[in-house]
């Protein structure tokens, strides 16, 4: 491992922000509208709140041993054998998720932009830049996020302002008609994508940041900003497209951007949305892949993770091609299986770490 890499608190904030927006902004609104209908925006607010609480939990876990990353923390607190087993599961989860990201990009580009290009070509090209970025290390990646931050935020704000004239308030009425259970279900979907997977920033947060106190604030700020953006986008989806269209689209936010029409002059600017979506998804893919490679090399106690990037990347490409037969299968998986899968690493693992730390403290006394 190279230990002299450092990420500043500002960079961590942007990294969390871009990561959290990632896939969520395009695909999740449709899943949430499926459950909570016109009240999906309420579910998004509940989910964002839960996300902030979860970030608090992660910061607490990170502060247990500020010099250790999550996988080393597992080994330290659970013991060598159980720690390694947990890490293997953690690696497996992160690796499958990184292949999923590649699939999403491939599917999106093949559906909306290049229907005649074979999908494996897109998968290989996207994986290639992800592998390249991870080989360079986390420091260049976090500098890249600083470059991406301004264009992404600017584009987002412009898109949000431009779509406001299309809002129809009839679409969210009647409020709270579906009852409380579907809203909770939709909020769970939101949490599972938005915040449970940010647990992987524990690989970066305490051990690789420059100022720990400020970085914790940056972590929290990134989550809050992303939460606000996602709640607004969720609300706009329902307000502009209506429940029916939001549910039926595989990428409702893309259809939303298509609706923008400023004086019959500025129209069809949805490609801008897709452009920034690809940037954020790229960041998400890079973080997933970085974490899986680092955890893998720590399992085998390899000193330099960079040499394992390309062979693991090759396996990632194959996995991304066989993972889902089509986007419908991906939807079913995201809806039903992803939540318990991600809760194990995102909720139970940090909670168990806290308990284990408390027990250790008592034994040491």
């Amino acid at each position: 491992m190279i230990d002299n890499v450092k990420v500043s608190s500002h960079q961590l904030m942007i990294l969390v922000f871009l990561y959290s927006i990632g896939t969520v902004i395009l695909h999740t609104p449709s899943l949430m509208a499926h459950f909570a209908k016109q009240d999906a925006w309420i579910a998004a607010i509940i989910g964002a709140g839960a996300g902030i609480l979860l970030t608090g939990l992660y910061i607490k876990v990170g502060n247990l041993f500020p010099s250790l990353s999550l996988d080393r923390l597992n080994e330290r607190l659970f013991g060598k054998f159980i720690g390694k087993t947990v890490n293997i599961f953690f690696f497996f989860w992160a690796f499958v998720s990184s292949s999923e990201i590649v699939f999403y990009i491939g599917d999106f580009v093949a559906t909306f932009w290049m229907p005649e290009t074979p999908s494996f070509a897109i998968h290989i090209m996207f994986s290639f830049i992800v592998i390249l970025a991870v080989r360079l290390g986390i420091e260049p990646i976090s500098r890249l996020t600083e470059i991406l931050f301004l264009p992404v935020t600017l584009l987002l704000v412009i898109l949000i302002i431009a779509i406001v004239p299309e809002v129809e308030w009839m679409n969210i009425q009647p409020v709270l008609e579906v009852g409380i259970r579907p809203i909770i279900r939709a909020a769970l979907v939101f949490v599972s994508f938005f915040s449970l997977s940010t647990v992987m920033f524990l690989m970066i947060y305490p051990s690789l940041v420059t100022e720990r106190k400020k970085a914790a604030k940056g972590f929290l700020k990134g989550t809050i900003y992303a939460g606000i953006i996602l709640v607004v986008v969720m609300g706009l989806n329902i307000l502009v497209l209506g429940v029916d269209l939001t549910t039926r689209n595989i990428a409702p936010s893309y259809a939303l951007a298509r609706k923008i029409n400023i004086g019959n002059f500025i129209t069809r600017i949805e490609s801008f949305l897709a452009l920034f979506w690809i940037m954020t998804v790229f960041i998400r893919g890079v973080v997933y892949f970085y974490v899986s490679v680092v955890v893998f090399s720590n399992i085998f106690e390899v000193k330099d993770y960079r040499h394992l990037c390309s062979p693991l990347g090759m396996i990632m490409v194959v996995l991304s091609l066989i993972l889902y037969p089509n986007i419908q299968a991906a939807g079913t998986y995201d809806k039903d299986i992803w939540l318990p899968f991600v809760s194990i690493v995102g909720l139970f693992m940090p909670l168990l770490l806290l308990v284990a730390a408390r027990i250790r403290k008592r034994v040491d006394r």
């Binding site: 939709a186 085998f300 390899v302 090759m314 396996i315 194959v318 318990p340």
Partner: protein, 75 residues
Amino acid sequence: MAVVGILIISAVIIAIDVPPLVRKKRKKELAIFSSLLLFGTALSIALARGVQIPNPLDFITWIFKPFSELIVKIG
């Protein structure tokens, strides 16, 4: 044709990653690297030839099905 392409990619990866590992005499890393690359190449060739590869997602689905049925009861 596809198989040739895969072999070329593997060769390029070897050309980039193996020399520094050999120079530093890191035997363990070399062993892990080679087995991963062998696995990756074999998988890619199998995929290119249309061989059915077991999907890890089926396994995950099988494990988490009972939990997801609990969640479905919520809404």
